[in-house]
């Protein structure tokens, strides 16, 4: 007896094609490749990405160093406080240096270190000569007695700070016109010539020493000239 074939509904246009079973090893290989790729990309991305916090820390250290230099030069801070602040800034730079990975981070750390080195020199230069030198490594014996010896040649600070010293001294001091900054002998009161701004610039150059020494040197004009010095720092006229 004839029997009709049973129909099977075909929903697709094309004839049913037997599906090939996906090869497990192929999928595993693909998965491994994808995972490795993702890991490599993530690693590369993380190593290339600049740490904004680290950059910010170096900028803070640089700002602090500038502030210290300004305070020291304007006589608004004593030696011990300035030294403590410099140490704090140096710690910040050291920490950033340890964590710096990218070129941008290393560059920022180097700039901060330069500025901190300059602050160190400025602070050390302001050290009262009546006090015993705490860091013989940083100041040569000549500096205590020979007031005309340039800072660049009298200090033995780290090699990396040489450039900073040069930069700082270019604006602030001249090896030849630097007055005696020691307190071994009280300088005579000398009123600089010129306008108030010219007088302030001489003060900024370091012609009249720091702190009490400067106050004595400028005598009655100290307040006016110092105010001008402070104003110039505030206005960013002094680099």
């Amino acid at each position: 007896m004839a029997e009709l074939k049973r129909k099977v509904t075909i929903r697709r246009k094309e004839a049913p094609v037997e599906k090939k079973k996906p090869k497990l090893w192929l999928w595993l290989s693909l998965a491994v490749v994808v995972i490795v790729g993702v890991v490599l990309i993530a690693k590369n991305y993380s190593s290339d990405k600049t740490d904004s916090n680290l950059i910010a820390e170096t900028e803070q250290a640089t700002a602090k160093a500038n502030e210290i230099i300004a305070d020291v030069q304007s006589g608004n801070v004593n030696y011990e406080d300035a030294k403590a602040k410099v140490a704090e800034a140096q710690n910040t730079v050291d920490e950033a240096k340890a964590n710096a990975k990218t070129e941008e981070e290393k560059q920022a750390v180097a700039e901060a270190q330069t500025k901190v080195d300059a602050a160190v020199k400025t602070v050390e230069a302001s050290k009262p000569s009546t006090q015993p030198l705490e860091t013989d490594k940083t100041v040569t014996p000549e500096q205590g007695v020979a007031s005309t010896t340039p800072v660049e040649t009298s200090t033995a600070v780290q090699a990396t700070s040489e450039k900073a010293v040069a930069n700082t001294s270019k604006d602030a001091k001249s090896p030849t016109d630097k007055p005696n900054t020691t307190a071994t002998s009280a300088p005579a009161v000398y009123v600089p010539e010129g306008t108030l701004e010219q007088k302030a610039k001489q003060v900024i150059r370091g012609n009249f020493g720091n702190g009490a020494e400067r106050k004595r040197a400028l005598g009655s004009e100290y307040n006016a000239i110092q105010s001008k010095v402070n104003e110039m720092y505030r206005n960013g006229e002094v680099k």
Binding site: L4, K7, V8, P16
Partner: protein
């Protein structure tokens, strides 16, 4: 310009009634029915060199080639299986023919699939079905599928492609699967 006249629609009502026809490249066979029954329109043939074949729903053998093609032999194409129409509506299946030059005879057949599978005792006249044949030369025939005898296979009509031309003949035969297997060339393709 010659006046174009539409040929009148011819209804082959009686068994044995025939009508000649011509077509160039388009002949359409369409079955329409309105009951909730799965009827299948099929065309089976015998070629001039004696080979048998057919076009029918691809669901019998899960093979799209069974629906044929117009681009190459058999130059006949089934539109696809249509199940029962929605209530109140009509369902239809179509078969398009581009050429029958290599065929000697064709059988237009309707299978009541559900009844055949379930071996139900049914008749075709309850489905209000009909087969319409139209050609690109204006011939238009209608053959009712309304025989009252019970059976699962309805041979609606036979097309003869002889030296004298093409001719559609109302066969009006309701037969069993076994009889169809024996009598209709190519019918065995949809049988186990």
């Amino acid at each position: 310009m010659d006046e174009v006249t539409l040929k009148p629609k011819v209804t082959l009502r009686r068994k044995g009634e025939s009508a000649p026809f011509t077509f160039n490249e388009k002949l359409q066979i369409e079955m329409v029915w309105s009951t909730e029954t799965d009827l299948d329109l099929c065309v089976f043939w015998k070629t001039k060199d004696g080979q048998e074949g057919g076009v029918f729903s691809n669901e019998y053998r899960q093979n799209n080639d069974d629906m044929g093609t117009l681009d190459k032999f058999p130059f006949i194409k089934h539109s696809g299986d249509e199940k029962a129409p929605r209530p109140g509506g009509e369902s239809n299946e179509q078969i398009k023919v581009k050429s029958i030059d290599t065929l000697s005879e064709l059988f237009i057949v309707v299978v009541n699939y559900e009844a055949a599978i379930d071996n139900k005792n049914v008749t075709f006249n309850e489905h209000k079905g009909r087969v319409e044949i139209t050609t690109d030369t204006g011939d238009n025939f209608e053959v009712p599928v309304d025989d009252e005898r019970s059976g699962h296979v309805y041979i609606v009509c036979k097309i003869e492609n002889g030296d004298a031309g093409k001719k559609a003949i109302n066969k009006g035969e309701v037969i069993t699967l076994g009889q169809a297997f024996q009598q209709i060339p190519g019918f065995k393709l949809i049988c186990n």
